[in-house]
């Protein structure tokens, strides 16, 4: 180094800048991160080659050589790339299933209200959180039921006609909204001092986690009607919803329990010493901290639950993947399963990635510096 180590009298040492990094800028970044050792250099070159082999053909297929024109059968796809013509032709069905086309505005309106309400609740800057919550959790379910299913002068649309992305979102939203509170109650119950409640909750959680979702759905669809008295039926979609919600709740309960166990005993003692009873302590002190700790786990469960909704295909409900699969079997579009599944995958990716990003934003926002 050019500068000699200087001595300072005790108590008068100045604050010095940290040692400078030798190479700065883009070149420095590349050298530090990509070429720091022969092995890393080799890995970098290998990765570049793999990208070179994989990405251009994919882009060509999906974008540059793709068919974007409208059409009625496979014959309308003249270019080499993806035949998005099929997705265009089937788009309505992918989105709404067999929901009557002249009634589809109801679905649009329903989701628009849902997104508006969710945005008002989830984005920090929007004021009036309490009204957004009231709207979303009290008014909206009724509104959504009327819009989607009918009533009050709206033509009834039976649930067997629901499908596509609509059905996926309905199942996912109901599952997610129901699974979290039920899961919290189950987790609290599993830690209860009352043996009967503890046994009940533990038994439920362990039983549900020990069987596959397909089994639960199958039971709900095929077995349940056998046990009900003759003439009593309830909607297949409703049964699927309950199955998914309870299934998700069992997993959620274990995630939440992890958070509950991470709260130091002193927090409960401080709350009790102030005179808070069990419910106030749980609602004001324990859950806010426990849930924040397990945000990654909760969102993980949400994402899993959302993707698990595809399994309702087994009981004859045509959600997004089911509709896409049906479309690829159509003789007019034979052999276009790649395009269909690519599109379905993209739709799932958008929703799941969105949830993941929101959870990261939430974690940053709720960080209060106590994890030092």
């Amino acid at each position: 180094m050019a500068e000699p180590a200087r001595r300072h009298p005790p108590g008068s040492h100045p604050d010095l800048p940290p040692p400078s990094i030798v190479a700065v800028g883009a070149v420095g970044w590349v050298r530090r991160n990509l070429l720091s050792s022969p092995l890393n250099a080799a890995l970098t070159l290998g990765s570049i080659y793999l990208l070179y082999v994989a990405v251009p053909p994919l882009l060509n297929w999906a974008l540059f050589d793709a068919n974007w024109n409208a059409g009625t059968s496979r014959a309308d796809c003249l270019r080499d790339g993806a035949c998005w013509t099929m997705v265009r032709a089937r788009f309505g069905q992918f989105m709404y299933g067999f929901y009557p086309p002249d009634q589809r505005w109801r679905v649009d309106l329903g989701f628009l209200l849902l997104f508006a309400g969710a945005a008002a609740l989830l984005i920090e800057r929007v004021p009036g959180k309490i009204y957004a919550a009231l709207f979303l959790f009290v008014l909206y379910p009724v509104l959504a039921y009327v819009l989607f299913y009918g009533g009050f002068g709206l033509e009834a649309v039976e649930t067997r006609l629901w499908g596509g992305l609509t059905l996926t979102l309905v199942l996912g939203a109901v599952g997610i909204v129901a699974a979290l509170p039920i899961g919290i109650v189950l987790a609290l119950g599993r830690r209860s001092k009352l043996p009967a409640i503890r046994l009940l909750c533990t038994g439920f959680i362990e039983f549900v986690r020990a069987v596959p979702l397909i089994t639960v759905l199958f039971m709900a669809s095929v077995m349940l009607p056998l046990f009900l008295p003759e003439g009593v039926t309830f909607d297949k979609l409703l049964r699927a919803m309950i199955g998914i919600a309870l299934f998700g709740a069992a997993y959620m309960a274990e995630v939440v329990r992890g958070g509950l166990q991470a709260i130091p005993r002193g927090q409960m003692e401080a709350a009790m010493a102030l005179g808070l009873n069990y419910w106030k302590m749980t609602a004001l002190i324990v859950l806010p901290q426990a849930l924040r700790i397990v945000i990654p786990g909760i969102v993980n469960t949400f994402i899993g639950l959302y993707k698990d909704t595809t399994l309702v295909l087994i009981i004859g409900l045509f959600e997004l993947l089911g509709v896409v699969q049906a479309a690829t079997r159509d003789a007019a579009w034979a052999g276009l399963s790649r395009e269909g599944f690519f599109f379905a995958g993209l739709m799932f990716f958008v929703v799941c990635f969105g949830m993941s990003r929101y959870s990261q934003y939430l974690e940053r926002r709720l960080h209060t510096g106590h994890e030092r």
């Binding site: 003692e269 401080a270 009790m272 010493a273 808070l276 009873n277 709720l366 106590h370």
Partner: protein, 260 residues
Amino acid sequence: MPNGTAAQEPAMRVSEEVMIEMSAVHKWFGQFHVLKDINLTVRTGERIVICGPSGSGKSTLIRCINRLEEHQRGRIVVDGIELTNDLKHIEQIRREIGMVFQQFNLFPHLTVLENLSLAPIWVRKMPRAAAEELAMQYLERVKIPEQAHKFPGQLSGGQQQRVAIARSLCMNPKVMLFDEPTSALDPEMIKEVLDVMIELARTGMTMLCVTHEMGFARTVANRVIFMDFGEIIEENEPEAFFNNPRSERTKLFLSQILHH
């Protein structure tokens, strides 16, 4: 000064009224007998320091007073209410007893102001504005009003413990329990917390304090209790306790903590 209590201010005088009465209290942790035949009467305005080696049961003793630990035999009566399994009584007693912990136990997800106003709002049903005003008063008293909108994680240990004391005071308690309030603090922060506690003693607060701060005991206590193996071995006024300990165990303990 011949007697530790002689020079104390008028507000620090002890009344005849009994605040806490423990009679023949026993407690076990599994097979381990932690509290053995504890008999203790605390009068309103008394300031009691409890000391003893670790594991002697001193923390357990004060934690029994607000039912953070359950005693298995004997009677504990606080402010005329007996501690039983009746949740109503327990909550009633807890509202009147403040507690300060070794590890502060502030609520990390709430700001300092929210930590203080939480119990007045939810337990005393005080309107939010009034509770926050009260909270600010007590923050002034512990000399950190400027930290009101910070989170506990952003404060030093001494500041956190002062917030914890203020949080208890916001409930306007009749008794304050201190469970080794300075043991987790860096040495240079102990004084600021003790100052707040001495200040509190001057207001006439009934205090039970588990601590090894013998200077504090001499200044504010009107009784020092020495515990070992779950028993109260000796209790006396501070001067007599420190100058003429009666039992061998007390002498040994004092020589160990005062030697360095």
